[in-house]
């Protein structure tokens, strides 16, 4: 095989028209040559139109010898229209016009019916494969030759890899092709059969040049087309073009062995025929024994185990639910998979498929030549990529170590969209607008919505060199009376968020939330099954009915909410799984309605340890307020009288909102400006300062370091909302406001009216603690006064009476007294037996 690297050398390879003259090189019997040689065969003198050409049955598994027989001028690729045959990856037979190759003096040869010049395409592909650099601006030209010395082209590298790994295909990113050569790209999309054949040819040429001993046939797999079609929009004009689309696999056929070459043996004399290739979807069974001495009629029988088969599979792809318009049912399309692509997906997988859209006419009967006027359509698959399920991009940048190892396949926003989003972000009222667009049918609750918005955008995660990491996710708890649309909010966020998982606390167990170890029923191996929190890694995990969750399950959340991991140690598996989740939980107060006389902790009945891990805790109380009532009434009336159309006008639709959020999460990483940092510090100090009352020894903690982190995250999220790369002072101010709104609602000490973080961190407010202490003191004094050591015992109720008499103003509950006495008993001051107290 010509190892010459110039195009002309290439031509030489192709030129010989006699099959026998083909490569006398060591690779004569390799897999690589047959394909090429066959291709040459296909190059027929006839320029006959072939609308139903199948891509040629290919290739890789076919040994050479029989190849030499040319089908009497009929391109073997030209099949009966009813045969969808054709193997995967290549060889459209049909680059006819191949005559040109047979003649040395050939001018430009054209693919039949097109203006594609074979040589031009050939050269273009060669240029692309050789010179494409991922970031290089220069293409073509001789300069690249110098560069070759320094950097290897992306595809040359890939080819080398394939050779090393003995792979069978090379994935070619269509965007690369586009970047390199617009024209080649459009030709490829328009005439995929022809161009891919040339592509394969060039590729094989390069492979053999690099490693003449390489035996396998390497195929080109195109993926990542610039535009993807929706299944619904496929129409007759797409036939024979390269298309790409997303969908869900709903059915896979079993693997069908498709015969490629048959060998027949004579029953009389035992003579074996040369392999008979498939032609037009059928095998011409020799009717007469070919051995001259024998020549018996109808004696040939198929030798199954010497035939060559290739794998084929038919898969049905269905539209994903989000592409189905209202009142429609999902469309489906058949995919034809070959060889390596077989079994790449299973039913339920969401995939992105690149392939050639083909139509095949339907014959009336198996033996009849007449065809119906109908066509069956399918996609001849070139490439299948599994895609993720979530609405927003999963690969988002909440993680610290972005930049390196970015997934090259990640979906990019097209420029138009980005421009639109950026323009949107420049609007001065974008924050308000986004707030309004969030669950627009839920009335009021603007501050809660703002908090949720921050949660959607999230802050920056931080990983210090020391290994300590700070989460960027914002956790929110909503506590409120029934009927305050908490669940609706949750559902809405769930729909919007990346990898949102929605669970109900009552139905969730600890393992269901985190992860569990299960035995695989088939292999008996222990496997790790992810629970909701792990599954919603980098997303939002919405937990409804948080209060009704078992304590056991809730305790699992501790680790998740601060360390953002789930650790498992059982059954021989010790693992720590990432669970970088924002938790959005909602709970009802313990007495179903919020009791304003009790503290938040008493109302919520959640352990303070867990509570402190929520950045924002909102109390959604149903307050009697005429103003709100009136607005609500107005809203309801307007719902019925079509005013809602006006209301909704300046609201972003859900897809824009999702785009906006995912773009911001991915591309915007705001840094704290100096000014904002100062503001943060002074603000924090101020809040802490509030806890000190002059002339009082009582110390109320109004903020803890956890709050600073929360504030940071919130202000980062706020900057992100504006698409701003730096956190400004007003972001911090707004973050303080949000925190305060939430705190005033949740951490307000009902007895004093001040914010008290102790309420959240320990569940007991500072004033409450002081009250308890004074009660103990009072009781101690009283007992000292009234009782002698070893004297008669007193009942608790009597003590209560006494205390009330002493200080008539104060209200003392029996329970408080009981615990006070218990404290005294533990000091050894008194002894308690039942209700009677004895001084010791």
């Amino acid at each position: 095989m010509a190892s010459d690297s110039t195009p002309s050398g290439f031509q030489q390879v192709v030129r010989p028209s006699s099959p026998d003259n083909s490569n006398s090189s060591p690779i004569a019997n390799t897999y690589s040559s047959p394909g090429r040689r066959r291709r040459r065969q296909s190059i027929t003198p006839s320029g006959t139109p072939q609308p139903n050409r199948s891509r040629f049955a290919s290739s890789d598994a076919t040994p050479t010898p029989s190849r030499h027989r040319r089908g009497g001028g009929i391109p073997s690729g030209r099949r009966g229209p009813a045969t969808p045959t054709s193997t995967s990856e290549d060889f459209p037979m049909s680059s006819e016009g191949g005559d040109g190759y047979d003649m040395d003096d050939a001018g430009p040869t054209y693919v039949w019916g097109t203006n594609i010049s074979v040589e031009d395409v050939n050269d273009a592909i060669q240029r692309f494969l050789k010179h494409f650099r991922e970031k290089s601006a220069s293409q073509g030209g001789d300069d690249d030759l110098d560069m070759d010395l320094d950097i290897e082209g992306k595809y040359e590298k890939l080819i080398k890899q394939v050779i090393e790994l003995e792979g069978e295909s090379i994935d070619v990113d269509a965007r690369d092709v586009f970047d390199h050569d617009h024209e080649l790209y459009s030709k490829m999309v328009r005439y995929p059969l022809e161009v891919l054949a040339i592509f394969d040819m060039v590729l094989m040429n390069m492979v053999t040049r690099m490693n003449p001993m390489f035996e396998k046939h390497v195929q080109t797999r195109i993926f990542n087309l610039k535009s993807s079609t929706s299944m619904r929009n496929l129409n007759p004009s797409d036939i024979e073009r390269m298309v790409s689309m997303k969908g869900m696999i709903i059915r896979c056929s079993s693997i069908i062995p498709e015969i490629r070459e048959a060998i027949f043996r004579c029953l009389v004399c035992g003579f074996c025929s040369d392999p008979v290739p498939v032609e037009r979807g059928r095998i011409a069974e020799p009717t007469v024994c070919l051995r001259e001495e024998c020549q018996s009629r109808n004696s040939m029988t198929l030798v199954h185990n010497r035939c060559k088969f290739s794998d084929k599979q038919i898969v049905r792809l269905q539209e994903t639910p989000d592409e189905i318009p209202e009142g429609g049912t999902p469309h489906t399309v058949s995919l034809l998979l070959h060889d390596k692509l077989v079994d790449t997906g299973k039913p339920g997988d969401r995939v992105e498929v690149t392939g050639i859209y083909r139509a095949m006419s339907v014959r009336v009967g198996p033996t009849q030549r007449t065809v119906k006027s109908l066509f069956k359509t399918y996609i001849d698959c070139l490439h299948i990529k599994k895609t993720s399920k979530s609405r927003m991009l999963v690969e988002d940048a909440m993680e610290v170590d972005n930049g390196q190892g970015r997934n090259p396949e990640e979906v990019l926003f097209d420029e138009e969209k980005v421009a639109k989003l950026k323009e949107l972000s420049k609007q001065p009222d974008i924050y308000e607008r986004l707030t309004k667009s969030l669950a627009p049918n839920i009335w009021e609750l603007d501050d809660v919505k703002k908090g949720l918005l921050c949660q959607l955008f999230g802050g920056n995660a931080l990983k210090l060199a020391s290994g300590a990491s700070f989460r960027g996710d914002i956790n929110i708890l909503l506590v409120g009376d029934p009927g305050t649309s908490k669940s609706q909010l949750l559902q809405y966020i769930h729909k919007l968020s990346p990898r949102g998982i929605y669970t109900s606390g009552r139905g969730s167990s600890a393992v269901g939330l985190t992860a569990y170890v299960a035995k695989d029923p088939e292999t008996g191996e222990t496997v790790l099954e992810s629970g909701a929190l792990v599954l919603s890694d980098r997303g939002i995990c919405c937990i409804d009915e948080f209060d009704k969750m078992s304590d056991n399950a809730r305790s699992m959340l501790h680790e998740v909410m601060e360390q953002q991991t789930v650790s498992i140690a059982k059954a021989g598996i010790i693992a720590s799984l990432n669970a970088r989740t924002s938790v959005l939980a909602c709970a009802n107060p313990s007495g179903s309605r919020y009791n304003p006389r009790l503290s938040v902790i008493d109302n919520i009945h959640l352990p303070p340890t867990l509570l402190s891990r929520f950045d924002l805790i909102y109390l959604m109380l149903d307050k009697a307020d005429e103003q709100t009532d009136r607005r609500l009434a107005k809203h309801i009336v307007s719902l019925h009288y079509k005013d809602y159309e006006n209301i909704e006008q300046d609201v972003l639709d859900i897809s824009t909102l999702t785009d906006y959020v995912s773009y911001a999460r991915k591309h915007i990483h705001p840094q704290l400006s100096d000014e904002a940092a100062d503001e943060l510090i002074t603000g924090y100090v101020k809040i802490r300062g509030r806890g000190k009352f002059s002339g009082s020894s009582k110390k109320v903690i109004t903020a803890t370091p956890r709050q600073i982190e929360s504030l940071l995250r919130l202000s980062e999220a706020l900057a992100r909302i504006r698409f701003s790369e730096s956190v400004e002072k007003h972001d911090v101010v707004e973050a303080f406001r949000l925190l305060e709104v939430a705190m005033q609602q949740s951490a307000m000490d009902t007895r004093t009216g001040t914010i008290d973080m102790d309420l959240i961190t320990t569940g007991v407010s500072a004033s409450e603690r002081m009250r308890r202490e004074s009660l103990i003191q009072d009781t101690r004094n009283m007992i000292m006064e009234k009782m002698q050591i070893g004297g008669r015992s007193m009942r608790l109720l009597e003590i209560l009476e006494e205390l009330k008499n002493q200080s008539p103003g104060s209200e003392i509950h029996l329970n408080d007294l009981r615990s006070a006495v218990a404290t005294l008993a533990s000091e050894g001051f008194v002894s308690m037996a039942g209700d009677s107290v004895k001084r010791t």
Binding site: P49, Q50, P51, N52, P81, A82, P84, N235, P236, I250, R251, S253, S254, I256, Q313, I314, R316, Q318, P321, I324, P325, E326, G327, G328, T329, P330, H331, T332, L336, A359, S361, V362, R363, V364, G365, P366, V371, K372, S373, L374, F375, K376, Y378, A439, P440, N441, W443, G483, A624, E626, D629, R630, L632, A633, K634, I636, V637, L639, H640, Y641
Partner: protein, 592 residues
């Protein structure tokens, strides 16, 4: 060549051909005719815009399918039950030097030159699987004269025509013979559908494991379903569960049975949905014109009257009297029933369906059980599409309520809840006994609740569920408040008299049907003064009772609107609002 209109009815294909030829003759490039009409549609539209011509077109029903000739113009009324996707066909081809078209036919008599793409442009058409509207009541079925003139009176001319037709389509004769044999007219599907709860429950449980023919409950191979092939229509025009009248060419060609063996693609699985509808059982209709039908189109003798207030008021009073008689002289309940029958989904704001008004009549006992039956009967006489669902544990556990995609046949198997817009569904919970629900039962209960609360049905596509909006009036009958199906309002009934229903005059029934169908569609608006009053009343209501939630308030406004509609008026007046509040007060009194 197009000649008299008669031609169009008996030989529409001739018209297709002649217009196509004419288009070619005027220089149109056949390859550019894709997705566009060359004058045929206009021809038929002109013809059929005249009501008298339209009524000449025979309506395809199980009764008429016997004698309607293939390749003639027919009408079909039905609900789009499934969409079978698009079909690509050779739109035009060259027969020798003459261009011919395949549009509006299933196959062509001439051999198509294979393999030359420039001469055989590929066009596409949509396939819809249509069934008779589920739950259609017998009075709403087309009467004999509406079905179209039977063939008798024009057989002689027809014969002449057909001779001409035979020349052009040689396969005409055998096809016809097959047609007659293949579809014997058996019992109509709706006979068994709604007559009694018992038969309903049987009909509604399709044997899932059974043959692929049991796609519709109670529907066997020779009921009047139809595959409609639609050309050149934007997708948004035809939606699932819409009711349409299609006018087009009837074809059925048993010759074209799918032969699966030959094609590699269908090898793996029966991919061609048409395979499950043999042509001799399910006729094909190549549609020229389609028209969306509303409830009004199902009224027999359409009185063309403006909804004048005094007239409407008269009808309203008599209907109320009738309803309250049915409900044992319970006027409050009759009022709610009336509002309920007038309700429809006005708009959807996010998940909310504004305008729905489901009612739960409670306090049914053994003595009042007959009321349920009468109510069912009365509703059937008033509304064209009705269903009654006897809710029992066994029913919940076995019924398939939601439509389900069967990927083996590539068909959407219908469920009880696949209903046309404006259907009425009575859920009779009085028979419900304690029992255990299996997973199907739980799922079904959830589905019902979804329909009740959101007016949405989840269609099961195996790998995901798809919510489809519906507009169904739901009436729940139960002993106590139904917790499985939380209706918008709960009305305990207080029947005071044993019921003796006098027969209802046919004219009265027709007037009521017309009233319900017409008034329901009226637009409505709100004047700002009333708006103010309503708002303040709502605020007062909230403050009086903190337990009122948004839904309760919204329902009150819905009631006000329906109340004003029931008088045939389009703006809510204070008087009607007061009536609404009074009605609500009476209801609340009963609850306590």
């Amino acid at each position: 060549m197009v000649g008299p209109q008669y031609d169009l009815l008996a030989n529409p294909l001739g018209a297709v051909r002649s217009t196509f030829d004419a288009a070619i003759a005027t220089g149109s490039d056949p390859t550019s005719l894709n997705n566009r009409d060359w004058g045929v549609i206009d021809l038929f539209r002109n013809l059929l815009s005249d009501q008298s011509h339209l009524s000449q077109v025979p309506l395809l029903t199980p009764a008429t399918v016997r004698y309607v000739k293939p390749y003639t113009l027919v009408r079909f009324r039905g609900m789009i039950q499934d969409m079978l996707g698009n079909e690509f066909y050779v739109g035009a081809f060259k027969d020798g030097s003459v261009w011919r078209t395949n549009k509006f036919t299933d196959f062509c008599q001439h051999s198509i030159p294979v393999g030359c793409s420039a001469d055989t442009p590929i066009w596409e058409r949509r396939l819809l699987y249509c069934v008779p509207v589920p739950g259609l009541n017998s009075w709403a079925e087309p009467s004999a004269e509406a079905v179209g003139n039977p063939s008798m009176d024009w057989t002689s001319e027809q014969r002449e025509k057909r001779r001409r037709g035979d020349e052009e389509s040689p396969s005409n004769m055998p096809v016809e013979g097959d047609e007659v044999e293949g579809s014997p007219n058996t019992k109509r599907m709706r006979e068994g559908e709604c007559t009694s709860p018992a038969s309903q429950s049987h009909g509604a449980v399709p044997e899932i494991a059974g043959s692929s023919m049991s796609l519709l409950p109670g529907l066997n191979g020779n009921s009047s379903s139809c595959i409609v092939k639609v050309y050149d229509t934007p997708e948004s025009e035809l939606k699932l569960n819409d009711i349409f009248e299609f006018v087009g060419i009837l074809t059925s060609d048993p010759e074209l049975q799918e032969d699966n063996e030959d094609s590699d693609l269908s090898n793996g699985f029966g991919e061609d949905p048409l395979h499950h509808f043999p042509a001799d059982k399910v006729p094909r209709l190549h549609c020229f014109i389609h028209r969306k039908l509303s409830v009004q189109d199902f009224l027999q003798n359409k009185p063309i009257i403006e909804p004048k207030p005094d007239l409407v008021k008269g009808i309203r009073e008599s209907l109320l009297r009738h309803l309250s008689a049915v409900l044992g002289n319970d006027e409050v309940a009759a009022h709610f029933m009336l509002l309920h029958l007038l309700s429809k989904v006005e708009a959807r704001v996010d998940a909310l369906a504004v305008g729905k008004f489901s009612v739960n009549f409670t306090c049914f006992s053994k003595e009042t059980a007959s009321i349920g039956k009468q109510l069912n009967h009365a509703v059937k006489n008033l509304v064209p599409f009705t269903h009654c669902m006897p809710l029992t544990v066994q029913y919940l556990n076995t019924a398939s309520l939601a439509p389900k995609k069967n990927y083996d046949t590539n068909r959407l198997e219908t469920g009880v809840l696949q209903l046309a817009e404006g259907s009425h569904l009575i859920v009779d919970e009085t028979q419900l006994k304690a029992g255990t629900l299996n997973s199907v039962g739980v799922e079904n209960a959830r589905l019902l609740k979804n329909v009740m609360e959101l007016q949405k049905v989840e269609y099961d596509f195996k790998y995901y569920k798809m919510e489809m909006a519906t507009d169904v009036q739901l009436l729940v009958l139960s002993e106590g408040k139904s917790n499985i199906l939380p209706a918008d309002v709960i009305v305990p009934i207080r029947p005071s008299a044993t019921i003796c229903l006098e027969a209802v005059a046919a004219e009265a029934l027709e007037a009521w049907r017309w009233y319900l169908a017409t008034v329901r569609q009226l637009p409505h608006s709100f004047e700002s003064e009333t708006q103010q009053v309503v708002e303040s009343d709502l605020v007062a209501a909230i403050q009086a009772d903190r337990s009122l939630n948004t839904q309760d308030l919204s329902r009150l406004v819905t009631m006000g609107r329906l109340m004003c509609l029931s008088f045939g008026e389009t703006t809510l007046s204070l008087e009607h609002w007061q009536m609404t509040k009074e009605l609500e007060r009476l209801r609340r009194e009963r609850l306590n």
